[in-house]
Amino acid sequence: MLDIAKKALAYAEAADVEEAEVFVTRSRSTSIKVYQKEVDELASNTGSGFGIRVFRGGSVGYAYSSDFSEESMAATAAAAAENAGVTAADEFAGLPEPPGEVSQMDIHSPRMAEVSVADKIGIAREVEAAALGFDDNISQVEQAAYNEAEATVAIANSRGFAGSYRETTCFAFTMAIALRDGQMQTGISFTTGREPGQLDAAACGREAAERAVGLLGAKQCESMTCPVVMDPFVAAGLAGVVGSALTGESVQKQRSLFAGLEGKAVASGVFSLSDDGTHPDGLASAPFDGEGVPTSMTMLIENGILQGYLYDTYSGRKDGRPSTGNGIRGSYRGMPHVGATNLRITGDSLPLRELIGSVDKGFHVSEVSGIHSGANAISGDFSVGAAGHLIEGGKLTVPVREVTIAGNMISMLKSVEAIGDDHRWVPFGGVVQAPSMLIGEMTVSGR
């Protein structure tokens, strides 16, 4: 793979450019969907492609292709150089300094290829069975799925960087449907890992069923202002939005609610948020980012105080800071952009029971919808659909649906009163390790 990258790099360097970089990926993925014990769909994809980024006179150009022939490499290099002809020149544009040693990371498991397809189908079946077996109110499991991906990434650039790594990820996902007295409720869950042996299929099925059954009989509650407990799924979604606003790029371009607040309190003292592209358990970990910069741990908010932002090479240079290794590459089709790797909410935690027990009258939210449309990382406005339970006298009571929770994001972060001890990795809002969180006051809109 690195040889392919170097070959394409030679074409790029031959174009009339000052700097060039080639990013190559090859991936293989399998997805298995099971419905009523039978395989509904078995899909496998193999795909590869490369992207060439060039700099000429401070301007950047990009082109990509899934065709690795020599003619295609030459045409793609030429297109990248031509594209650089129209972008604006910028003194901060350019490739990163070559890093010293890049450490290898244990993010690839040969086990994934060794496990048979039949056993992987078995995982999806086990998820479905666990959900169906949880409770008589589970009428069916709409989806029980197993997904896996193996990818190889290689980067070579004209400053001498040449690196590659391989990674594996897999997950199982399910949505269970509970039915009682004509009312349907749904619940979802998932389990993630580097290889199938790390997945807990039974727990995944049970949790989805428990979430669906727990909402049976749910109805709207009165509108009110009250303490809100977000479970880890919900807290992760919020952390994802907060993380997207904590990039150097969004601050420099005046589109972050955190602009100009470095060193200031933006959250309560019990709340900390970091981004860690090196975390051994985080599925977004990699030895280097999408432009070959080693990943790192970046403290974003520590005990409520804003510590700094995430940077790629370009936005870092603009602020006179080093890249934090957050030049993210979605695929070979796009240039790197600043983004989070593994986000982690940390801080002194309370046992979950005490956290909920401390609320006399409030709302426990276990499901939100419309985060992409209802959470604005620029204005800070936050209003999303929610379902969960009322908290009365420190206990979960009546199930609630069809309400919204709303507030301003910084006010919400400042009124975080406690975080729970139930941290877990959640694939919502990116890859996030999130606990339950008690927010002192939010508006719940219902009847």
Partner: protein, 461 residues
Amino acid sequence: MLLDERLMQKVISRALEEGGDFAEIYAEKRSSTNLSLEDGKLEKCSSGLDTGVSVRAVKGRQTSFVSTDGFEEQALLEAARLAGQGVAAGGGGVSDLRLEQGGVVHPVRRQPSDMEVAGKVVLLEQADRGAREAGSEVAQAMIGYSDTVSEVLVANSEGCMATETRTRVRLVAHVVATREGIMQTGYESIGAHRGMEIFEEREPKDVGGTAAGKALTMLDSQPAPSGKMSVVLHRGFGGVLFHEACGHGLEADAVEKGASVYAGRVGETVASELVTLVDDGSISGEWGSNTIDDEGVITSRNVLIEAGVLKGYMYDRIRARNAETTSTGNGRRQSFRHPPIPRMTNTFILAGDSTAEQVIGATDRGFYARTLSGGQVDPATGDFVFGVSEGYLIEGGSVGTPLRGATLIGNGPEALMNVDMVADDFEMNIGVCGKDGQGVPAGSGQPTLRIQGLTVGGTEV
């Protein structure tokens, strides 16, 4: 054509030798150009090409799908072998291929490749200027442009062979306005299954200016109220509510599993008699239109709800086969790397008899949702949510204070029954709909209309 007929026959036969009673090959060649401008500077210019094939084998209710890059014969036959093996027990027959004829064409007067990149840059600069000139409080404008030319070819064991070249052009503007520490945003986009001529009909400058106008208006906004209110949906953007509130629940994959509130209800009244809901992938030039769907079925106009009565669902080939009916031309996929699933194309509510002024005038106290920012639905329960990026309070029959930070939440079946006024000012809007990890271009539209008793989720109790 991307592949010759003989090779396609061979691939389909190869799949069926291994397994399946139906097999299909889908080939695609897609080139695109993406530009983005921010901070007044053209920051990104990228272009590229993707080519590949997928093979699908189906046996009963089981589907096996394999995709691979490029058009190389050996790779295609290997994909076919794997796809067939995935369902095993083969034996399906292969019919001679015949090319599908007919369907609506989407004329492209000016191909994206006919304009140099420098010319496209000018379009973004004009949109940026339109935004900057809208007011001194405009702090940032992000302009994005994309064009895609995708050639698709599909053939299957029933003998259907179809091909289409799809050209789509899109321009979007996100604008941020600031005043004394308050930041608000505005959004506007245009796009079509057509060429560069769309910019002759609507100038990029106007797209930027409209987005900026929304952001500036929202600087004067007050926090939105909470609780149940009459909601007036402004024409165009409100279509996304019906896309979420009932469109997804009428897609046959949710229906066949009973995971939709609309399952088994054809012929029943599911909406107010003012509501006629249509999905039409055959409107010439429209963003969500295609001549054929991604399984080679010619697209058509499908009435889903007529005067409140549920008429039918949206099917792809597989779900139609399971339900012993025919595909409605709604089998769509993001790319050759994705299996087709039932999806909306352009989904809209037909115009009514009132005027927009009458709808607003008849509302004593309500919420006027002028621009929506997208939403989400749980098809099983029908509960939906969507964000309002530009909303106003209606008091005494007229539009007043702008309101920020509101999300509307409701239940699809209830909301449909509660539509009590529909105006005559129909308009379409464009978007990208996400489902099962696949994004496809989707249009939605409606005239201005009123829904009684939706919950407005603001911060003021």
